[in-house]
Amino acid sequence: MKNPVARRNGIFSENLEKEKILYDKVNHRAHSLNESAALVWQNADGNKSVGELSELLNRELGIPADEKVVVLAVKQLGEAGLLEEFSPAEVNPELVSRRQLARNFGLAGASAGLLPFVVSVLAPTPAMAGSAVSKITPGKALHDLTTVTVEADLDPAFYHSRTAQVDLGQATQAFAKGQYPTEETDLNGVINALGLPPL
């Protein structure tokens, strides 16, 4: 395997207590690296071999000096787009199972947590993170229902009024016609919580 080279262009990092957060401004992904993955990324300068990096991990974190640990880190960093060059073909997946390595080294619990681990998330656009209610959605219908019922909490007479019943009827119909499956929205959960009959 070639000496790994970390990608640093367009990436900024922030250190947490035992982790490193990397934000990739090019691909808009955020990554959390545990200590060993972070150590490999920091030292992957193209000059250190996989063997040298495994010795570094052993020296700094007490992880058994085995190249497979570095290969596991390289695989995860490469798949996350955090290396300059990465060829998945170079990595034999059978050799770099995290679970298998933990078993081989007799690591369990917190010790197993020392093996390289990278978690990634896509940074959303404002629209992705936003709360769109432009169509009839469960969220909107839910708000309608909640509004009606909250009003009913305060004024039972209103709950039985024509206005409330029309609102409630429209909201219920919106649920029934919604394009969103109930298993994704917990609609019946809120209906139960509000003391209304299920849809």
Partner: protein, 276 residues
């Protein structure tokens, strides 16, 4: 305020108001008689400015008619280029409010907006990040029913010091009934909700057959859970990471699938009581 006509040519009192919220200034153009359908303040934590600045971006909220003559309400302005319409004034007001909130959340450089539900529990913020339709409003309502204080079911607002500010979405009551119903105890407009340190972050995913198996999140995973729901992270990633890092200093993060909201709320409360 000036006299004029609305977008459909109907006479009325046309008004232009300028607001400021979290360092974002914007205007609203509408008819005076539509104003009672909007919440006040228009953005939680925001205020109306006395001067009328013609240069700031404007949102528009007017009546219109379809080709067949039906009355509709139109909403425009902000980050979305299109004009949205609704047949009902309350629905249109909701569209406008959401649009304005999205705009402020995306543009503010004073605070970081994370799409999340928030309640206060024992003096700390309990945050449930999640996108729309993830059921977080339901869960927040269930937590409130167990004694938590409602802070938001839309955004968690983080300041420079990492404290979380309330962003309570207000009920939009029809003017014909608002004189009878002042407020709801769990969502009292104008109540003083102080900013809080973060106590807990729950990364939850609804599934009808879910088994409650909470797993501790590391600080990094907790930060990623928030980043994945942060509105302006792409535009101001450094600021976002630094604000959120500060916020999570002493927070506990947990992740699990969850079932119905009422049950999940009980499980959450039991869990945080056990954790002390």
């Amino acid at each position: 305020m000036t006299g004029g006509v609305d977008a459909d040519g109907e006479p009325g009192e046309k008004i232009r108001l300028v607001y400021s919220a979290y360092g974002v200034v914007f205007a609203l153009e509408t008819m005076a008689d539509l104003l009672p359908y909007l919440p006040s303040p228009l953005v939680p934590g925001g205020e109306e400015l006395p001067e009328s600045d013609a240069s700031v971006p404007a949102f528009r909220f007017f009546r219109a008619h379809t080709e067949t003559g039906e009355l509709i309400f139109s909403v425009a302005g902000g980050d979305a280029a299109d004009t949205e319409t609704a047949p009902d004034v309350i629905a249109a007001a909701q569209l406008l409010e959401s649009r304005i909130h999205r705009y402020v959340a995306a543009e503010s450089e004073q605070v970081v907006f994370v799409h999340a539900g928030v309640v206060a529990w024992r003096g700390k913020a309990l945050i449930v990040p999640g996108s729309s339709h993830s059921g977080k409003s339901t869960l927040i309502a269930a937590l409130t029913a167990l004694g938590a204080t409602y802070y938001s079911d839309e955004y968690a607002v983080f300041d420079f010091d990492g404290r979380v500010h309330a962003f309570p979405r207000q009920l939009r009551l029809r003017p014909d009934i608002s004189h009878r119903i002042a407020s709801h105890p769990s969502r009292t407009p104008g109540i003083a909700l102080v900013s809080l340190p973060v106590g807990w972050v729950f990364g939850l995913r609804y599934s009808p057959d879910a088994a409650w198996k909470p797993k501790r999140l590391t600080a990094g995973q907790m930060l990623l859970t928030l980043l994945g729901n942060t509105v302006a992270v792409r535009r101001q990633s450094e600021l976002t990471v630094s604000f959120l890092k500060r916020a999570l200093g002493s927070a506990t993060g947990l992740q699990s699938e969850r079932g119905e909201a009422a049950l999940a709320a009980e499980q959450i409360v039991r869990m945080i009581e056990e954790l002390g």
